[in-house]
Structures are given as C-alpha cells and as structure tokens.
Amino acid sequence: MRRRAVHAAVIALALLPLVRLGVGALRDTLGADPIKTATHTTGLWTLRFLLGALAITPLRRIGGFAALAPYRRTLGLLAFTYCTLHLLTYGVLDLWGEWGTLLADIAKRPYITVGFTGFVCMVPLAITSTRASIKRLGKRWVQLHRLAYVAAVCGCVHFLWLVKKDIREPLIYLAIFGALMAARLFLRFRPGSAAATKARKSASLSASS
C-alpha cells in the first residue's frame, strides 16, 4: 500500500514540469518564445527520464536498491510521454501551418533525423511495456528493450547537434550516459557474474585442450 502511494507520488512529481509549462503558458511567463521553452523543457525531461530509466538496473545491482525495480518501466514511460509531447510541440505548435516542413526536416536536418530515430526506437518499448508482453516475448523482450540505449544515444546526439556553440550541457548528458554504460560493462564482467564465469570457463577449456 505504502509502495503504491510512493509510486503515485513519484509520477505526480515527474509530471510537475508539465504542470509548470501549462501554468506558465496561461500566465505568459515562459519567456519571449514560449514554444521554444516548451520544446526545450519537454526535450530535456525526455532525456532525464530516459537516463533515469537506464540508471535503475545499475543502481539496483551495484547499489542494492532492490525497491527501485518497478521504476524502470515508470521512468521509461515518462520519457516516452515527454518525448511524444516534445515531438508534438515541435511538429504541431512550432511548425504550425507548414506541415510539409516536418517530413522535410526529419529527412534533411541531421539533428532532427537523429532525434526522430530516438522517438521511433521508444515506440515499440512503450507498446511492449506491459506484463503480458514481457511474458509473451520472453528473451526477445530483453533484446528488444536494448533499443533504450539507442534511444538514449540518439537523444544525447540530438541535443549536442542542435546547440549553437555552448556544448557543455549536452556533454554532461553524454557523460552520464557514458557512466551508465561503464556501469553495465562492470556488471557484465565483474568477477562472479555469469558472463565472467563463462569467459573464464572457455579460457580454461581452450588452455587445457
């Protein structure tokens, strides 16, 4: 019961940036270019939740925070929600009245191509996020959900390519992604892990033959 309350609170908190955007739009406090602010905010939170989702497994297995397990899906779906809103803000609000531009942009502008690729990667993940899908797909579910890494790389590169000159902020996100990847490698090959045992076994086999 308490767990569910905490979970609900986390979701409410995670939707706060959205509420702030809505209130800001009504009160005209989103700056001189509100659509740009909305695009930027939804984009940033997409990346944050995506990296957050990717951080759950390392935190759980290295840090021992077992209770975090259900949040991987929550954060992933939040990332997808923000990403959808990000795309809609850009494709509908920003390009209002010039609908042909969206397709042209996706094809022509590398940072948009990459960003859109990230979104496309997230669609099947959102669709197969149900318990039933996990059961049905089994091993293939794990393989499919590696697309989350692709989406994260796309998101970081999208951010890096769109800034005019000051690339500090996108580099921070890229660094966090790098650290999460390093944690994965560590988990995979640390002494005692399945992969390490397997590697050691095959090494000793080839040595004895």
């Binding site: 001189a32 270019d33 920003d94 209002w96 010039e98 502008r109 005019k164 000159k165 000051d166």
Partner: protein, 321 residues
C-alpha cells in the same frame, strides 16, 4: 496575486504607431496568411510566385520609403530586454539580463583608427552627440529564426565615419567589442574568441540604414542590449550587430568576424538575411516574430531589399552567405 505594471508599457508619443498604419495591421496578417497558404500548395502552378509576392508586399507597405521606420507592431520592451544573445554575459537567452547588472557602460570611449585622415579616441558623447541622435524602427531578424521590431536611437554609421575622412584604402570597417571578463562573466570561458569582432564592407557601412545605436525605446541602451554603443544593420542577421563597441577600424583587408571564425560553414562574413539560403542545421525560410504564434515568411534582406539589394548586385549570395 502580484501584478507588476511595466512603466514602459505606455510608450512616449513619438513611439506610438500611426493610427492609420495600426488600423491596416490586419492586412499584413492576411498577407502573411495568404503567403503561408500558398506555400502549402507548392504544386499549384504559380503558387510559389504568388507566395513570394504576398510575402514581400506586406512588410514593405508599412515601412517608410527610406526604410527608417516600420509600422509593424513593436516588440514589447520587456521581451526585447529579456531575450538576448550576448554571449559575453552567458549563452542562455535570459543570461544577459540576469548577468549584466555589474557592467559599467559609462564613461565610455571609442577608438577610431586605421585608414582615416584623422584617427583618435573619442568620448561616446562626442562620437554620438545628443543633437545628432535619430530614431529608427527596424525589424531585427536573428540567425536562430526569430525576430523582433525595435525602436532604436542612434547616429547613422556613415555620419560618424565621414567625420574621420576615410582614405581610398578604407575598404572595410572592423568593429571590436569591449573585453572585461571581470564584468562580463561569459568572457571567462572561451565559448567564442574574445573580444567579439564584426565587420562590414565600406559601402555597407555607408548605407543609410546602418546605425550606431545608443538607445532603444526612448532611453539609453540597457546593458543586456549592448550598452552603451552597438551596431544595428537590419538587413543582416542579428549577430552582425556587435555590442559594446570600443574600437572602429577602417582597413583594406576584410576583417575577421567572431562567428565566422567559430563556424565558417555556418556563419558567413555577409550574413544577409536570406530565406533561400538555409543555415546548415535549420531553415531560414520562416521566422517567429516574438509574441506571435505562427511563423511568418522571412523576407530577402529582412524586407530591406529596396535599400540594400544593389550593394550585392552580381554577387552569388549562396556563396557569399
């Protein structure tokens, strides 16, 4: 709820748009709408030409013939002073407003040097004496595809340059911004190569539209807008409008310019507003006028083609972007 009343919300009489122009404002909106509609139908015969004609017409009809004053709705002071690209104070749009409080724009002097008969360093008051100050209302088009309409005060650049009697070897004008990392936090990091530099060809500099601005909205320039002296060239992208100028040098060689040095494939020396030549990463065909929802078509030379297009006759504007 706290309701903050902006004391600039009521502009002085001289800044009020003529009623006749104001009443015609919807024509421009309709014109832009038609243009947008026409652009949506690229396959429909003469659609493209009609769009161009409609796009070129509305802005011009509200401009004075010399281009000095546009009748288009002015951007609110609050927005023009809180949404700025002035990397010396930080790279976010609100940074210049937030971080420029410690900048001291007075006293100020400007060195005028190079290929001129009478080089020297002048106090700002002597370079731009109060009696010579004129008002201009210009569109401002940022390279990032947004735009504003700003009432400037200043002195035509040509008037300043002529006083120093340029020699026949003065082919270009090079401008340099102030270097004050202690007062300009953005200069403590090498986001760009400081100090900021810009330049114009001499005939561009002598064009009556080129303005050395000392004020906007009927008052001195706020720090975040380039106090106390900045360049305004309304037919070029905003970054050509170098801020907080300390040196003006006339020279034979084309000067190096900051954004061109930073990314030569993205920012050319000329940087004339041109809807047909995209930024490598985004389109320049349309722009968002700050305060408006739908984007509007961008006009060649930002709507000042009549005044400046002849400067570039015979030049390939795709190459010389």
């Amino acid at each position: 709820m706290l309701i903050r009343r902006n004391r600039f919300a009521e502009p002085p009489e001289r800044e009020v748009t003529d009623a006749a122009l104001y009443l015609r404002r919807r024509e421009f909106v309709v014109g832009a709408g038609l243009a947008a509609g026409a652009l949506l139908l690229p396959g429909c015969g003469r659609g493209g030409d009609e769009a161009k004609a409609a796009a070129a017409a509305p802005a011009k009809s509200s401009d004075s013939p010399d281009g000095f004053r546009t009748g288009e709705e002015q951007t609110p002071f609050e927005k023009a002073t809180s949404y700025n690209n002035f990397y010396e104070f930080g790279t976010d749009k609100e940074d210049p407003k937030d971080n420029s409080g410690g900048f001291v724009p007075k006293p100020w002097s400007v060195a005028v040097e190079g290929e001129i008969a009478r080089p020297g360093t002048l106090a700002l008051e002597d370079l731009a004496p109060a009696a010579a100050i004129q008002e201009r209302i210009y569109r401002m088009r940022c390279v990032e595809a947004w735009s504003m309409v700003i009432p400037w005060r200043g002195i035509p650049l040509a008037d300043v340059l002529k006083r120093f009697e340029p020699t026949s070897r003065a082919k270009f004008v090079a401008f340099t911004s102030v270097l004050r990392p202690a007062q300009m936090p953005g200069q403590r990091r090498n986001v760009l190569e400081w100090p900021y530099r810009e330049g114009l060809r001499i005939d561009e500099a002598m064009n009556p539209l080129a303005l050395l601005a000392t004020g906007m909205y009927g008052r001195d320039l706020p720090n975040q807008n380039g106090a106390p002296l900045r360049l305004v060239t309304p037919w070029k992208y905003g970054f050509k409008g170098i801020k907080s100028i300390v040196a003006i040098r006339l020279q034979e060689a084309q000067p190096e310019t900051t954004w061109n040095m930073a990314a030569p494939d993205e920012y050319g020396f000329y940087s004339n507003v041109n809807p047909e030549v995209d930024h490598p990463r985004w389109s320049q065909a349309r722009e968002r006028r700050i305060g408006e929802f739908a984007k509007r078509p961008t006009l060649p030379f930002n709507g000042y083609a009549e005044q400046v297009a002849s400067l570039y006759a015979g030049m390939d504007l795709r190459k010389n972007f």
